[in-house]
């Protein structure tokens, strides 16, 4: 049914995603080039030397940074189209394969925490809104306002302090994937970062869901269902819940994509070998090709999250289906 109604819709979403993608990589390209400092100067400063200008110039010539900006930009674009994302200054390796390896480890953290925070946030929010005014609702609301007000890295440090330092139950981080590493080791290392990421995303989804549930409960069809003698659980699961999830859906998918930004802090704190840690080190060393590649992947992930929500929406909401059909 979706295919039948939505070919044009899907195509349009796809093209708008492409437009956003082009705009975003253009912006990153020029922003990164306006950063003060450069790779060679920073590298030599680290060992306490000032880089001689001819060395900086010859490095820039070698990597093509001395070309005029429009030319660099064109080279960059054609490179991307051909699948050549450039080579990292720092590692000397192709950016694409570097990112691919690190992205895997980041997704190991992001996927479980996305699922957990979406489930917990929606579940708690729906329950809280349904039981509006009760003690449980007040308790959940106040504790989640607190959780959301504390920055993610504080929760990361708190987790490390309690579970690793005080109780000695979990490692301090620094996960290294060795061939034959047992899954238990991965689990023990991933537990704290996943929980921290989840903890920081739950409040946002929770508020949205709670508000949406409150709005839905004020709707006439809820009153009408009560007037027909339906049980409370039936009203909740058949009428209130499906209707209140709708507006939360888009925001939740974006929320999960935004966890990528949070993962820079979390991976740095837990020394997790993922994209976040790579971003941090690439920023430190002015590794322009690598940064460009990372931001490109970030952009792609957010666009994919958005597209997923756009494509899910008509599956759930018949009103959107009609609108698409009418377009």
């Amino acid at each position: 049914m979706v295919l039948e109604i939505g070919n044009r819709y899907i195509l349009r979403r796809f093209f708008s995603g492409l437009l956003v993608f082009l705009l975003s990589i253009t912006l990153t390209f020029f922003l990164l080039r306006s950063l003060p400092g450069d790779y060679m100067t920073d590298l030599l400063l680290e060992i306490g030397r000032y880089a001689p200008p001819e060395l900086v110039a010859s490095f820039k010539h070698e990597v093509g940074l001395d070309l005029p900006l429009p030319e660099q930009y064109l080279l960059y674009l054609t490179g991307i189209l051909k699948g050549n994302w450039g080579h990292s200054f720092e590692y000397g390796l192709p950016v694409f394969s570097l990112i691919r390896e690190k992205l895997y480890w980041t997704l190991v953290l992001l996927l479980p925490s996305s699922l957990l925070s979406a489930g917990l946030g929606m579940g708690l929010g729906a329950y809280s809104g349904w039981k509006n005014g009760s003690k449980t609702d007040a308790f959940l609301l106040h504790s989640l306002v607190f959780v959301g007000a504390v920055p993610s890295y504080c929760w990361g440090f708190a987790g490390l302090f309690i579970f690793s330092f005080r109780l000695g139950l979990l490692p301090f981080g620094g996960y290294v994937s060795l061939p034959g590493t047992e899954p238990a080791g991965l689990f023990r290392h991933a537990l704290l970062p996943v929980l921290t990421l989840t903890l920081c995303s739950v409040p946002g989804i929770y508020y949205l869901m709670r508000n949406s549930m409150l709005d839905t409960l004020g709707e006439d069809y809820i009153l009408a269902a009560r007037a027909r003698g339906f049980s409370e659980s039936r009203i909740l699961f058949q009428h209130a819940l499906p209707n209140s999830i709708l507006p939360v859906l888009t925001m939740t998918s974006l929320h999960c994509a935004h966890m990528l930004a949070g993962s820079v802090f979390i991976e740095t704190i837990f020394a997790w070998p993922g994209l976040g840690l790579l971003t941090y080190s690439a920023l430190e060393t002015h590794d322009l090709p690598l940064l460009q590649g990372i931001f490109l992947v970030d952009t792609l992930l957010i666009i994919i999250a958005n597209l997923t929500a756009d494509l899910l929406y008509p599956l759930i909401d018949p009103r959107i289906r009609s609108r698409i059909r009418g377009e």
Partner: protein
């Protein structure tokens, strides 16, 4: 015995602006097949009265008095007892029919669910569904059943909510402004339909549409600012309206000169001393400003809350 008997019902809501006295000491009786029109302007408390009867008011609303249904006080019923009465015995046709349907479910699914709630088996419910839709005037019940609420017109939605209330066989229908927002053709059709489906049951017809009430009902009750101001047989009220408010409403009808009543009704948080209508009343006397009139019996079951009939 009366089917439903409302005795000195008082409904109040606490708000930031003060206590809202939405319904104030209302007494009403309704016989088993009686059709009563409850007339009043927006905010006069007529919908609140209907919702109070089904105990559907928000939790902070305070109800005092008695609502006896077949001798049983609904205000004392437990939530489970109420659930068994709602729909099954007392059915509501809600206001704004298009918003009273779940937007995510097809009309058929909602009807099916309601038929199942009414006690039909899956098979029976599936067989009964088109029949029910036909009974409210659907020529092609299948296409109605497949439609989503946003695909239905106002008149269609009104028929669907009527069908939903008839899925059970209630002994009382509470219709909350069913002709609101409909064009004259659909209005006439809905009035006819309501007349048909209430042949063997009682109807409380809530409206500000006096003519529709006159077509459907045998008795009329007029509410103003939370209280009854006139109650009597349809003919008596139309031919010999006692309360100046009733007379005002009749003169406001297009057929009788379309003269609106000047001013507006008082806020329910700050009701005036004396008669609640005195500031808009062309016949007000000194007593109306200071003393609140009781509901006088003027004979033949015709009641009026006005000092002119002492």
């Amino acid at each position: 015995m009366e089917l439903i008997e409302i005795k000195s019902l008082k409904v109040t809501f606490p708000t930031e602006a003060g206590l809202v006295r939405a319904v104030d000491c209302v007494d009403l009786q309704l016989g088993a097949r009686e059709k009563l029109g409850l007339i009043g302007e927006t905010g006069s408390g007529k919908s609140v009265l209907a919702h109070a009867t089904l105990r559907l008011l928000q939790p902070d609303a305070l109800c005092e008095g008695e609502i006896l249904y077949q001798g049983r006080n609904l205000l004392d019923c437990t939530p489970t007892e109420l659930r068994r009465l709602r729909g099954r015995e007392l059915a509501l046709i809600p206001q704004n029919p298009s918003r009273a349907l779940n937007p995510l479910q097809t009309v058929g699914k909602q009807l099916f669910e309601t038929l199942r709630q009414a006690g039909y088996s899956r098979k029976e419910a599936a067989a009964k569904l088109p029949e029910l839709l036909r009974s409210v005037g659907a020529i092609d019940p299948d296409s109605w059943a497949k439609a989503y609420p946003h695909e239905c017109s106002g008149g269609m939605c009104e028929r669907i909510v009527i069908a939903l209330s008839l899925a059970f066989s209630p002994s009382l229908l509470l219709a909350d402004e069913p002709t609101k927002g409909l064009d004259s053709l659909n209005r006439a059709r809905i009035i006819t339909l309501l007349g048909e489906v209430t042949e063997n049951r009682a109807l409380l017809f809530i409206t500000h549409d006096l003519e529709a009430a006159a077509l459907l009902c045998t008795r009329l009750a007029l509410m103003y600012a939370g209280e009854l101001v006139e109650l009597g047989d349809k003919a008596a009220v139309f031919e010999n309206p006692l309360h100046p408010y009733t007379r005002g409403l009749l003169f406001a009808l297009p057929a009788r000169g379309m003269q609106p009543i000047p001013g507006r009704s008082p806020p329910l948080t700050a009701l005036p001393d004396g008669c609640r209508f005195h500031s808009r009343c062309p016949e007000a006397i000194a007593r109306c400003r200071s003393q609140h009139p009781p509901l006088f019996d003027t004979g033949n079951g015709h009641f009026c809350r006005c000092w002119l009939y002492v």
